[in-house]
Amino acid sequence: MTSEIILQAIVTGLMMGLIYALIAAGLSLIFGLMEIVNFAHGEHLMLSMFSSFWLWSLFGLDPIFSIPITILLMAFCGVITHYFLIRYILKAKMLIQICATFGLSIFIRSIAQLLWTPDFRNVDKPLLEGRLEIGSVFIGQPQLVASLVCLVAFIGLYLFVTKTETGLALQATAQDRHAAEILGIPSNKMFAIGWAIGLGCVGVAGGMMANYFFIFTDVGINFALFAFVAVALGGFGSIIGCLYAGIIIGLVESLGGLLIDPSFKLLYVFAIYLLVVIYRPQGLFGRY
């Protein structure tokens, strides 16, 4: 095996990892804020890919141009998810919370299958096509742009949470809801903002992947699994941890596929997950 092939796998893994990181950051933000795991995260990703697909198929909008619309739609979806479901289960037992978001995932997927059938779809001839050849490494253009956009979104998210007033209020609410409330910070509004941003992240990732990924109702499942692993690996509630974890997962997936056997990609990722759970249960950057 030549070093070129390995380099190729590293580049591919890095690009995928940045996308995983952003999806995981959305999950982590929501979890950190209200200790609720969004088991419908994959379905939300699927919705954002379909949003991009339908905007293209019905209105002829290329995914590159429809991305702001997809982000807004997903943010709105986050707000209504909070308003109609999550705010009723905030004080409920954990099992009930799990059932609620897990139920939501099945609900969304069933509706999607009913409306759109389980067919595979893709965006034909998007503006972003083809690949670059750098040295001996091939880089798909849509993949490259998607991962860069996700990286930029990730940095934006990080700056928002750590540097802005609203971001600090989000952190305060996450760390001590009542103490924040008593200072005048309305937790319910913060939770809604958290959901909007969390699903907005998914909107960026899904919207960009619509350029080159097959779009079908089960497409989110594996992404959600990886996002869960990334959140655990990075440390629950740590956003920066998601970046490292996402990249690690992307690399493990692609290098494992190359060096061992591509049909066991999921296995390698979960092996890493198990190692972390055993040796560093709080994750790489976890506080708990």
């Binding site: 007033e165 600090l168 209020a169 952190q171 305060a172 760390q175 001590d176 009542h178 103490a179 924040a180 409330e181 008593i182 200072l183 005048g184 910070i185 309305p186 937790s187 506080r287």
Partner: protein, 235 residues
Amino acid sequence: MLLDIKNIDVLYDDFQVIWDVSINVNKGEMVALLGPNGSGKSTILNTVSNLVHHKNGSIHFNNTLISDVPTHKRTELGISHVLERRRVFPHLTVMQNLSLGAWHPKAKEQLSNSLSKIYKIFPKLEVRSNQLARTMSGGEQQMLAIARGMMGLPKLLMVDEPFLGLSPMVMKDLIKIFKNIVSEGISILFVEQNVRLALSMADRGYVLESGRLVIDGKSNDLIDNKKVTKVFLGN
């Protein structure tokens, strides 16, 4: 009258812990809320913040009924509450904790003013302004919690067990700070278990036992009162 709690009952689920309690605080007054463990002191402060709802009775602030005002809208009215056990945001810096204390628009406008004032009162907080709150000592965290409460420009500052775990020196400082705050016309309602300490600094005191008011009055009248001693020492 700034704060007027009239005949409130408080229940956790079906379990009543406060019975027919009335407490009032005047402008610029320092009032102590005394009582043994579990007598309901924190519950009363939490009710004034609406973290806990009361049944029956009423709570007026500045002559307005506030019983239904949600917790996050009360700082704006002028109520700051420093919760039991400090509750600073552990993973945020001192400075970030303080600036979150000035959340409502009026307080935000005064942010830099308030900060320089707070730093004068608590010089250590300025030195440590970029330190994470969780790495501060217990006493420093208590100062931070009180300072954060002051950032909301309160008319009434409620403090739950401010002296817990403070060394005598720091305690003396804090007593002085409280006296200064009150001299500016801000009222303080504080919870304390040490009767002598509390009554030596407060204008008036209320003594709770098992959720009921036993006695209240001027500090001087309470300080050697037999009823008060009985509540804390038993028979």
